[in-house]
C-alpha cells in the first residue's frame, strides 16, 4: 500500500501539478515585447566598468623610486616647455633666464660719492632695478664700485645715490630719458677688460 492510496488528497494534488499550465499567448507576447524593449548592455559601459573597477597592485621599492623619478622628470620637462613658449601680456620677450645670453665680458663701474650711504647701479641690463646691482664702498675712499658681466653692445645706465639718479661723469651721455634724468652709455665690445 502506497502513501497515495492512503492519502487520496495527495493523489489529487499530484494530478493537478502534472497538468500542463496553459499560458495566455497574448500575455507571453507582452512579456517578450517588454524584454526586447530593454536596451542591451552597451560596450562603453562595460569598458567603463572595467576602467573604474578598483584594482590592487603592488610595487617594489625600486619600481616606486623609478616612478617617482619619472614623474619629477615629466614635471621639469613640461615646466621648461611652458616657459619656453610663454609670452607676457605685452607679447614680450621670454624670461630673463632665456633673455640673458652668455656674457661677453665683465665690466667694472666706479662712482665717486663720498657722502652717500647707499649707491646702486641701474641700467637696461638689470631692468633699472636698484636692488639688483648694489655697489660697494671702497674702504677709506668715497668710491663705490660694482663689477658686472655684460654682453657686447650698447648699455644705458645711471647711478642711484640714496634714491637720486645721476649720470656717469666719465661716460658719454645717453640723452634725456623722458623722465627728467640724463643717463650714460657704455659700449661693450667682446673681450673688453675691466
Amino acid at each position: 500500500m502506497t502513501d497515495s492510496e492512503r492519502h487520496p488528497y495527495i493523489e489529487l494534488i499530484a494530478r493537478e501539478a502534472r497538468r500542463p499550465v496553459v499560458v495566455d499567448p497574448a500575455a507571453r507576447a507582452r512579456v517578450m515585447a517588454a524584454v526586447r524593449a530593454e536596451p542591451l548592455p552597451g560596450r562603453r559601459s562595460w569598458l567603463w566598468r572595467r576602467v573604474v573597477a578598483p584594482r590592487s597592485f603592488t610595487l617594489s621599492p625600486i619600481t616606486g623610486a623609478l616612478l617617482a623619478a619619472s614623474l619629477v622628470g615629466i614635471g621639469v620637462i613640461s615646466n621648461a616647455l611652458v616657459n619656453r613658449d610663454g609670452q607676457t601680456s605685452a607679447g614680450q620677450a621670454p624670461p630673463v633666464a632665456q633673455r640673458l645670453p652668455v656674457s661677453d665680458t665683465v665690466v667694472k663701474f666706479v662712482f665717486l660719492a663720498p657722502q652717500a650711504s647707499k649707491v646702486s647701479l641701474v641700467g637696461d641690463f638689470n631692468d633699472w632695478d636698484s636692488a639688483k646691482s648694489p655697489m660697494v664702498r671702497i674702504a677709506n675712499s668715497g668710491l663705490w664700485t660694482v663689477t658686472l658681466p655684460l654682453t657686447a653692445g650698447r648699455h644705458v645706465y645711471a647711478y642711484d645715490v640714496d634714491g637720486d639718479w645721476y649720470a656717469d661723469p666719465n661716460a658719454p651721455v645717453a640723452g634725456d630719458d623722458g623722465f627728467g634724468h640724463t643717463n650714460s652709455v657704455r659700449v661693450v665690445t667682446k673681450g673688453s677688460t675691466l
Binding site: 603592488t58 615646466n79 623722458g178
Partner: protein
C-alpha cells in the same frame, strides 16, 4: 640571512614615493615660474595707459623695430615712479625715433638703431645719418653714434658735430679713434673750452686713415668725396 621587509613597509614605501613625486612634479613648475618685470611694471599702470604702451610695442614689433629700448623706457619710468602719461609719451617718442632711424639707416643691428635714434633725439637731422647707410660689411657705427650724440648733448653745434663724425667715419676711423676723440673733447670742455672749439681742435688730431673701399656709395657721395 637577510630579513625581508614587512608587507606594510613594502606597500608604504612606494606609495610614499609616488605621493612625493606627484607633489614635486606639481611644485616644480610653480617654483621655476618667472614673472617678466615688464609684466609687473605694466601691471602698475592704469588700464588705459597700459593698453597704450602695449599698442606702441605691438606696432614696433610689426614694423620690425627692437622692443628692448621701449621696454627699457617703461621699466625706467616705473622704477622712477613717473606719471603713467609721461611713460606713454616717453615710449611713443622713442618709437618714433626708432622708426625714423630705421628709415634712414636701413637694416642695422638693434643696438646701432637705438644709438642712431639717440643721435636724432640729440638734434641731428635724419639726412645727416644718411652717410652711415652704406658701409663695409661688419662695420658698426655704434661708437660713432654714441660719441656724436654726446657731443650734441654737450653743446657742440649740430653741423660741426655731424661733419666731424661723418668725415671720420668715411675716413675709416675705428671705435678707438671715436672714443679717443670723445675723451679729448670732453676733457677740453671740462677745462672750460667752448664745445665747438674743443671739437675742432681735437678733430685735427684724429689719425688720418686711408678710406676703406666702400660697397656702392651713391653717386652724390662719390662726388662729395672727390671734391673734399
Amino acid at each position: 640571512m637577510s630579513r625581508s621587509p614587512s608587507p606594510w613597509v613594502s606597500r608604504l614605501v612606494p606609495r610614499s614615493l609616488a605621493v612625493v613625486a606627484l607633489a614635486l612634479s606639481s611644485a616644480a613648475p610653480l617654483a621655476a615660474q618667472y614673472t617678466d618685470p615688464l609684466t609687473v611694471a605694466l601691471g602698475r599702470l592704469d588700464p588705459t595707459n597700459r593698453f597704450a604702451i602695449e599698442v606702441i610695442m605691438d606696432s614696433a614689433r610689426a614694423a620690425g623695430l627692437p622692443d628692448a629700448p621701449l621696454r627699457s623706457r617703461v621699466l625706467q619710468g616705473v622704477q622712477l615712479k613717473a606719471d603713467a602719461r609721461r611713460i606713454v609719451d616717453a615710449v611713443r617718442k622713442k618709437f618714433v625715433l626708432l622708426r625714423t632711424a630705421r628709415e634712414v639707416l636701413g637694416p642695422v643691428s638693434n643696438d646701432e638703431l637705438d644709438a642712431g635714434s639717440v643721435v636724432l633725439e640729440a638734434g641731428a637731422r635724419p639726412n645727416q645719418l644718411q652717410s652711415f647707410r652704406n658701409r663695409q660689411k661688419g662695420r658698426e657705427a655704434l661708437e660713432a653714434f654714441t660719441v656724436w650724440a654726446d657731443l650734441l648733448y654737450r653743446g657742440v653745434p649740430g653741423e660741426e658735430a655731424s661733419s666731424a663724425i661723418s668725415k671720420l667715419w668715411q675716413d675709416g676711423a675705428d671705435d678707438a679713434t671715436f672714443h679717443s676723440l670723445w675723451n679729448n673733447v670732453q676733457a677740453d670742455i671740462s677745462q672750460g673750452l667752448n664745445p665747438g672749439a674743443a671739437l675742432q681742435n681735437r678733430i685735427r688730431e684724429a689719425p688720418a686713415r686711408a678710406a676703406p673701399p666702400k660697397p656702392t656709395p651713391p653717386a652724390g657721395q662719390q662726388e662729395n668725396q672727390r671734391s673734399s
